[in-house]
């Protein structure tokens, strides 16, 4: 955890929860996990206050706890969940997107959930009705129905995710408890091989659990009912009964930031194709991503789940113009030279997308007619574009030229760089050192002799994408921390 990241985390907590929670959170962020007594020591606060702060943090899914036995007491350790804390920076965008995708009801639900951390559906609706009131034309019942519908939709699309009491325990402790359960079933202590197989099966179980049905949603048979079921397609009819999916009323939900991040990333990937090919290509990519999105859990996955062309054909938005935007070779069209059919167009489009040099869309190895998106290459390309944009805005075109050349050609020496980029060596040297202090370039020394005399070593410059991305992220955290700190100072001067 870098200094700037810690500072940003602390300022986020201060912004949302006040100075006392900030002190507790800062101690936990910097020093790791500790029990209440130790926190009270470090922050000079009373234990009661520390407990209230920890309560607030756990309520908002920012802290987790673990209980361990020490001699004869059971001590509870608390730890901060860094990823959730940094996700809070995205809250404005989350609110905006929930309005965009789920309309005003969705925005209100997201706001209520973000205020309270986690809520059940009934409490959430109560809270919204209390805070926003009811428009004069509608009754409370209608409002409740529409809010329930919006909530159910958000749960089904996994924008809201269920929270279980086990989520308050640290992930490592949960894994250890499960392992212990398994090993206790065996009489002898496990060998290394057995332990490895146990871990693998538990890992597979966890994977399956995440991909399976959504927790918190239950299905029941219900008579076809106007206010609720009229727009739903009939899933299964048994006389007049229809399967209706409802959210369970006693399960707590929270905003699932991962899902929002995945959707934003998918939009960015589709946008790559707009500049490169045409808007129709972008729509096709977007549809593929929407179909594959259901199985995506977080941004770190390498490839999406496969999507078949048939499914794609059925789900394309109605106004995509496939036919007019493609030009077919007259010989392919057949004897009548008639307009090509839609599925031929789609085939051709998918072929073009696949042949594109970005290598993002690929055929699924096992099955025919199914395509897979290579998310890893897509995110590399997005990162590279972003870094280029940052360097170009901050330094200018010659710097970007050097960076691009190094990214394409690998490791180069000063002399070669100046030759390829057509700039004098003095200029090149200055730019290289600037980019290196900025964090984008790396230097590799290759000595010619046993003693590493500077005059007899090769200095090779290169761009390592992951390192560049990390350094720039750190810079971003630095800037964000600065902005917040400045805002606090200026506000307190005027208070």
């Amino acid at each position: 955890m870098s200094t700037y990241e810690n500072r940003l985390c602390r300022l986020i907590v201060r912004e949302h929860f006040g100075p006392i929670v900030e002190k507790v959170a800062y101690v936990l962020i910097r020093k790791g996990r500790m029990p209440v007594g130790l926190i009270a020591n470090f922050t000079a606060l009373k234990p009661r206050q520390v407990r209230e702060c920890l309560f607030v943090l756990i309520q908002h899914n920012l802290a987790v706890y673990a209980e361990s036995q020490e001699k004869s007491r059971i001590v509870t350790y608390y730890e901060i969940n860094h990823t959730e804390l940094l996700h809070r920076v995205l809250i404005p965008k989350v609110l905006h997107s929930s309005q965009e995708w789920f309309e005003r009801d969705g925005a209100l639900i997201a706001q209520s959930l973000l205020t309270h951390g986690k809520l059940t559906i009934t409490h959430c609706i109560e809270d919204i009705l209390k805070s926003s009131g009811i428009a004069p034309g509608k009754t409370a019942n209608q409002r409740t129905l529409s809010l329930t519908k919006a909530f159910t939709k958000m749960v089904k699309e996994k924008c809201l995710i269920a929270v279980r009491p086990s989520d308050s325990l640290t992930a490592a402790d949960r894994d250890m408890a499960e392992e212990k359960r398994e090993t206790d079933k065996m009489t002898l202590p496990p060998t290394a091989a057995e332990l490895a197989t146990i871990r693998k099966t538990l890992g597979a179980q966890k994977q399956a659990e995440q991909n399976s049905t959504i927790v918190g949603l239950k299905r029941r048979l219900d008579a076809m009912d106007d206010g609720y079921g009229e727009k739903r397609p009939r899933l299964l009819t048994d006389g007049d009964l229809v399967i209706v999916e409802e959210v369970e009323t006693d399960v707590y939900f929270k905003v699932n930031f991962d899902r929002f991040i995945i959707r934003w990333r998918n939009v960015q990937i589709a946008n790559l194709y707009e500049a490169r090919l045409n808007p129709t290509a972008k729509t096709i990519m977007q549809t593929i991503m929407n179909l594959a999105e259901e199985r995506m859990i977080n941004c770190k996955e390498e490839r999406s789940s496969p999507v078949s062309i048939m499914l794609l054909l059925n789900n394309l938005p109605k106004d995509t113009n496939l036919i007019d935007t493609l030009e077919f070779d007259p010989s392919d069209l057949g004897p009548n030279n008639s307009k090509p059919k839609i599925h031929e167009c789609l085939d051709k489009y998918v072929q073009i997308l696949e042949d594109d040099l970005m290598n993002i869309l690929k055929k699924d190895a096992g099955r025919s007619g199914q395509y897979v998106i290579n998310l890893k290459t897509a995110s590399q390309i997005l990162k590279k574009n972003l870094i280029q944009g940052i360097v170009s805005a901050r330094f200018g075109a010659p710097y970007v030229r050097i960076m691009n050349m190094l990214a394409d050609k690998g490791k180069l020496e000063e002399k070669q760089i100046s030759r390829f980029s057509m700039m004098p060596v003095k200029d090149v040297r200055e730019k290289l050192t600037t980019l290196c202090t900025f964090g984008v370039l790396n230097l590799q020394e290759v000595p010619k002799t046993k003693e590493r005399t500077p005059s007899r070593t090769y200095y090779l410059w290169e761009v390592i994408l992951s390192r560049a991305a990390d350094t720039l992220t750190d810079r971003l955290y630095h800037t964000m921390g600065n902005l917040r700190q400045r805002r606090f100072v200026e506000r307190s001067k005027r208070a």
Partner: protein
């Protein structure tokens, strides 16, 4: 990363041609760089040309309004913890106008949440009537059973947390009392701290008054 896309993506403020206003007036790199040293740290606030940011887009405006509303809600919610202002020695005229938000916020126990999410020591915050007992784990160490079964001493393991379940405290006390009796049997009040067995004898003695302890 796409996460930082909204902020850093090629739309940095002050874009201006080749080496535009993106670089402030002070050179910190290149051949005429000004390096700060201990003796010459430079001015605290040197003159720089601040880049002018572009105006916010509509989307950003909407996001700002939504976030501001959320922050106001959070500020007046029970989750924002502050110390209530102590009433000063003198009541002032402005006390009426400087309202103390801490008094107006609802209390933490009015939150609708579930106790199962929290560890036991925090249950009293949600429900003030819970009395938290200090949890100890009793490891029964019965000498007569030591040959029978070594695993019996720890009791059951709680499947959730992997810790032994709590059992009664009664047996522990009995064991302690037995040990205490044994110590008292020596019947000597100063048994532990009087006899030093020759350990205190190696003072130098050359330092004068060092012998009176």
């Amino acid at each position: 990363m796409s996460r930082g896309g909204g902020r850093g993506g090629g739309r940095g403020g002050g874009r201006g041609g080749g080496r535009g206003a993106g670089i402030p007036g002070i050179q910190t790199f290149g051949p005429d760089a000004i390096q700060a040293t201990f003796k010459n740290p430079g001015e605290t606030y040197p003159d720089i040309i601040l880049p002018v940011a572009r105006p916010p887009t509509d989307e950003e405006g909407e996001m700002y309004i939504a976030m501001k509303k959320l922050q106001e809600t959070l500020y007046s919610s029970p989750y924002y913890l502050t110390e209530p202002k102590k009433p000063g020695a003198i009541t002032r005229y402005t006390d009426r106008y400087h309202q103390d938000q801490a008094a107006k916020r609802p209390k933490l126990d009015s939150i609708k949440s579930n106790k199962t999410f929290f560890p036991e020591e925090l249950h009293s915050i949600l429900d003030p009537k819970t009395v938290t007992k200090r949890r100890t784990v009793n490891s029964k160490f019965d000498i007569s059973q030591i040959n029978e079964n070594e695993e019996d001493g720890d009791g059951e393991i709680d499947p959730e947390t992997g810790l032994p379940k709590k059992t009664g405290d009664g047996d522990d006390q009995l064991d302690e009392e037995e040990y205490e009796d044994e110590e008292d049997e020596d019947d000597n009040d100063y048994a532990d701290n009087y006899f030093d067995n020759g350990e205190g004898d190696d003072d130098d003695g050359d330092d004068g008054d060092g012998g009176d302890y």
